[in-house]
């Protein structure tokens, strides 16, 4: 998926250095990257307009957030904006370019490397507190804490989405989906009911989702006929996640942001993954955002597509 019009870090200089050079050499007027937060683990997306602003620039183990979505707005502003794209972000970027949401001509995509981002909650869950500094040592992390040095396996504290990164070899991203599929329909219902009942409708999943960039979201639009404003047993309220999953079906790149940001830790990505798995099985392998031109599986068809009965014929419902 490397296009000619993309910057690729050939010399393997640091990402910060790259960012600096881009602004210095005027290859872009602005640069979208990550800004150091109040704490070392809460880096956030930011636009840098000049070199001095770059002092706050950061690219480290806590830059999990996907920058693509911000370009919907940013690429519509004057001038050219450079954007740093981790391998997983590129899919979202391509998908948004495909849907004309990002004005491609106004963007300089810069592809950067990533070895997986960390999940602060997982580190904390290991009982590691008072963290001062984290350094990578092969498969291990050396963590400097106020209580002395600690170590943990890097693999154990990666973000969920990084565990099944599309650039990593091995690992079956559909493993959990298959587990749920293997349940009985009552178990499946109970599983989702218990998970989805945790939802507080904070809309974080929608807000972060790079596939959710509608000018006006149906959930905010009471005239669409689909939504009724929040009301505990209203249609959109009770089926919010189902509707959203279908809304992004065929367009979801499986970036995993929804689960990453969910304050209630609902494994929302599993719904999208189920759809991706079905699409792959029914209509052939398809990765949304693999390129920025091909038609998605729901906007095309084959004359000999499977009949909907296939759902009936495929196991499950034990």
């Amino acid at each position: 998926m490397q296009n000619a019009d993309r910057e690729i870090n050939k010399e393997k200089i640091s990402v910060a250095e790259m960012a600096k050079q881009i602004l210095e050499q005027g290859r872009a007027d602005r640069l979208m990257g990550w800004k150091r937060g109040e704490f070392f683990y809460d880096n956030s997306p930011a636009v840098f307009e000049n070199l001095s602003e770059l002092d706050d620039f950061v690219y480290d183990l806590f830059c999990g957030s996907n920058l693509s979505k911000f370009l919907v707005k940013e690429s519509r502003k004057d001038g050219k904006i450079a954007v740093l794209l981790k391998p997983c972000d590129r899919y979202s970027f391509n998908q948004l370019v495909k849907e004309h949401r990002i004005i491609k001509d106004n963007v300089l995509p810069v592809e950067i490397d990533c070895d997986g981002m960390l999940d602060i909650d997982k580190i904390r869950a290991l009982g590691i507190k008072g963290i001062k500094k984290i350094t990578v040592d092969g498969d291990q992390l050396q963590i400097d804490t106020v209580y002395g040095p600690k170590t943990c396996a890097r693999e154990d504290v990666l973000l969920m989405k990084c565990l099944t990164c599309k650039d990593r070899v091995g690992g079956d991203r559909f493993e959990l989906v298959k587990e749920i599929e293997a349940m009985s329909s009552v178990e499946r219902y109970e599983f989702w009911r218990s998970e989805l009942s945790k939802c507080i409708r904070c809309n974080a999943c929608r807000n972060v989702c790079p596939a959710c960039t509608c000018e006006k979201c149906v959930f905010d639009n009471d005239k669409s006929g689909i939504a009724n404003k929040a009301n505990t047993d209203s249609f959109e309220e009770s089926l919010y996640h189902m509707i959203r999953a279908f809304h992004v079906a065929g367009r979801c790149t499986d970036c995993g942001e929804c689960t990453r940001v969910c304050p209630q830790n609902i494994p929302l990505h599993l719904i999208n993954r189920k759809i991706i798995k079905d699409l792959n099985e029914f209509y052939g392998e398809y990765q949304a955002g693999e390129d920025d031109f091909s038609k998605g599986p729901l906007t095309r068809f084959d004359l000999d597509d499977v009949e909907p009965d296939i759902v009936m014929e495929r196991g499950g419902n034990k």
Partner: protein, 661 residues
């Protein structure tokens, strides 16, 4: 808030016997928006309609629900009535309480309950209806016929006779098509040229018909009433306006290697040639792949001998751009290639020929001057074997799954003609089934068998082995349950026919659909057999499915009538139940454009003003004249910007809610 009137029809006893009308009327009075509810024995009658009209005026209604028979039956009737009373005709909803209720349920209570639900569902929908106005579009009073065979010629002549301009685009240097290659026609045995050539002349001389021969359609844009077509006039290398058609050039041309396509390669032609004597236009064309001048730069003999100085080696392809109101597809057919059927030895012996080749051999203007001669040695054949269904009715992928329809009859014709002219020739026909539905067809086939002694064998040929100058034809005779070997001089293969390959690209250009066999699909297989599902595109001849000449001509005229009907209108009323994009919501993602079967959606960059700022956004726009209102776009639209008038998201949701109440 709507003011709705509900009218419940008894339909005599059809509805009233099973549905308690009073209960329905009473229940409707309490539905939101309903200000009037009444019933009548026959709502569709004059009296019933005037009751409705009266109520509309009296109660100042904004919309009506008629609980009656299927909307497919009387929706138009009630719309007209509403219109007459000053209502917008799309403020009418029908609750189908006859076909979908009274007629299928026996239990009166159950049926009444259902009728109430159906009625309130219609009310719920109507509450969200808005008046709709059909759009209008103009009609260019000119038709394009693609293909200049008998189908195209007939369509063009009929349209031209009605007073409209017609252009025929034909890719060959002459019009005439396959029929021009035929010798005689079944079941009357009149000569094909004798009945076709006058029509060709008529077409060429008709003041309303314009011929583009040796031309192809490059691109098509626009929609019904306003097609915009680019036609490529291929360079003939001969100035058609000067050429007198004397033919000296074709005689003098020293290149003699090219296969004569008109005679299916049974003899050769020059590099500059006129396909056949009666060709129209009677203007030669230079085959640049064969011409010595074009290949080596030397020669140019044709230019030297031309008395009119009409040869032009520098001629270029020319693009003509024209507008049309309607398009007739008449692209015809070809016999399939026989590469997958080498057991019949077509590639191994010259004496194994296709039926179309036999037509040329039998034709007085053909390569043998009409004498039946074996191609290998020009000898007289004594035994001939015809094989039916070669490549037809084949589900293995080697041939075509369909019946080619014409073969049984032309084989009977061939067999009969041969037996008549050369009674010494034994003629055997291997058949799987003989299919002769058609006026005087079976009689014709039986005559071949009974009067002319053609030996019909129920069975198939397994192998043709060219041996010792003969063809050993190994076949089965299923009636006798035996295998037999016939020592034949010639084998004639009734080769399956397939649509001309141009059908595929034209289908894409016109968004006219083709089936798995590349035949054009008709709008309805029974009720709209000459229309393509794409408005303004009509079908004529074999491009729609295998058919013989009379059927082709009938369909060609039918297509012409449809075209005339269309062109006679000054304005076209468009179905107002079309897609509509809410530009404020549109993301510009192109999903709708991907699924639209008609190419009715375009994208434009548009300026939007919000909060004092203007921004440029890409938004979808529906061309209402092209949109047919299927609604595919509404479902793929991620933002909910695309909706379908008359069947909006809100309306259907309201119907769901009304049912699930």
């Amino acid at each position: 808030m709507q003011r709705i009137g509900v009218f419940v029809c008894w339909c005599g006893t059809n509805i009233a016997a099973t549905v308690d009308i009073d209960t329905v009327v009473e229940a409707m009075k309490y539905e939101p928006g309903v200000v009037h509810a009444s019933d009548y024995q026959y709502m569709c009658s004059e009296a019933g309609q005037s009751k409705i009209k009266q109520a509309i005026k009296e109660h100042n209604l904004t919309g009506i629900v008629v609980c009656a028979c299927s909307p497919r039956m009387h929706e138009t009737t009630f719309r007209k009535a509403a219109k007459a009373a000053g209502l917008n005709q799309y403020m009418v909803e029908i609750a189908n309480i006859r076909e979908h209720c009274a007629w299928i349920h026996k239990d009166r209570k159950e049926a009444t309950e259902k009728a109430v639900v159906l009625a309130r569902t219609a009310v719920a929908k109507l509450n969200l209806n808005t008046p709709l106005t059909p759009g209008e579009s103009s009609v260019v009073k000119r038709a394009l016929v693609i293909g200049g065979g008998i189908a195209g010629i007939q369509s063009a002549l009929d349209i031209a006779e009605a007073g409209y301009e017609v252009d025929i685009v034909e890719k060959q240097p002459t019009i005439g098509g396959k029929m021009a290659q035929l010798d005689k026609t079944f079941p009357t045995l009149d000569c094909a040229a004798c009945i076709l050539t006058p029509k060709m002349v008529d077409a060429a001389s008709h003041e309303n018909i314009n011929l583009y021969t040796y031309s192809e359609v490059d691109s098509v844009g626009g929609f019904v009433g306003n097609f915009n077509v680019k036609i490529r006039k291929k360079a003939r290398s001969v100035k058609a306006d000067i050429c007198s058609g004397c033919g000296i050039c074709t005689e003098k041309c020293p290149s003699r290697k090219a296969e004569n396509e008109f005679n299916l390669g049974l003899n050769k032609r020059g590099a500059i040639y006129i396909p056949f004597a009666q060709a129209i236009p009677n203007v030669p064309v230079i085959d640049r792949d064969q011409c010595i001048k074009f290949k080596t730069g030397k020669c140019g003999l044709c230019a030297k001998v031309c008395p009119a100085d009409a040869i032009d080696f520098s001629q270029q392809d020319e693009i003509v751009e024209k507008q049309y109101g309607a398009v007739v597809l008449a692209t015809g057919f070809n016999p399939i290639k026989l590469d997958n059927f080498d057991e019949f030895g077509y590639s191994q012996s010259k004496d194994v020929i296709t039926s179309l080749e036999l037509e040329r051999i039998m034709n007085a203007a053909g390569p043998t001057g009409g004498k039946l001669l074996r191609p290998s040695d020009n000898g007289h054949p004594h035994t001939m074997v015809f094989v039916q269904c070669v490549g037809s009715r084949d589900t293995t992928g080697c041939g075509k799954t369909y019946c080619s329809k014409i073969c049984c009859m032309y084989t009977a014709k061939h067999a009969m003609l041969i037996r008549e002219k050369y009674p010494d020739v034994d003629v055997h026909v291997f058949y799987i089934d003989v299919r002769t539905p058609g006026k005087n067809f079976d009689e014709f086939y039986r005559r071949a068998a009974e009067d002319y002694g053609v030996n019909y064998i129920k069975g198939m040929v397994g192998k043709v082995a060219p041996t010792n100058g003969k063809l050993l034809v190994q076949g089965s005779d299923l009636i006798a349950d035996r295998q037999l070997v016939i020592e034949a001089d010639m084998v004639v293969l009734a080769t399956a026919i397939e649509p001309d390959q141009t059908a595929k690209s034209l289908a894409t250009m016109l968004t006219a659909s083709i089936d798995t066999n590349n035949f054009f699909t008709e709008a309805h297989p029974k009720l709209r057999p000459v229309e393509s599902p794409t408005a303004g595109v009509f079908l004529s001849g074999v491009c729609q499915g295998p058919k013989d000449i009379p059927e082709t001509v009938a369909q060609a005229s039918a297509a012409a009538v449809k075209v005339i009907g269309l062109l006679s209108k000054d304005k076209l009323m468009c179905n107002p139940c079309v897609a509509n994009s809410n530009e404020l919501l549109c993301n510009g993602c192109s999903n709708c454009q991907h699924v639209c079967p008609y190419g009715a959606i375009d994208y434009v960059e548009k300026e939007f003003r919000a909060g004092g700022k203007t921004s440029l956004r890409r938004v979808a726009q529906v061309n209402e004249a092209i949109c047919q209102g299927c609604g595919a776009c509404t479902v793929v639209c991620p933002s909910g910007a695309m909706d379908l008038k008359g069947f909006t998201n809100q309306q259907i949701m309201a119907e769901v809610d009304a049912i699930c109440r």
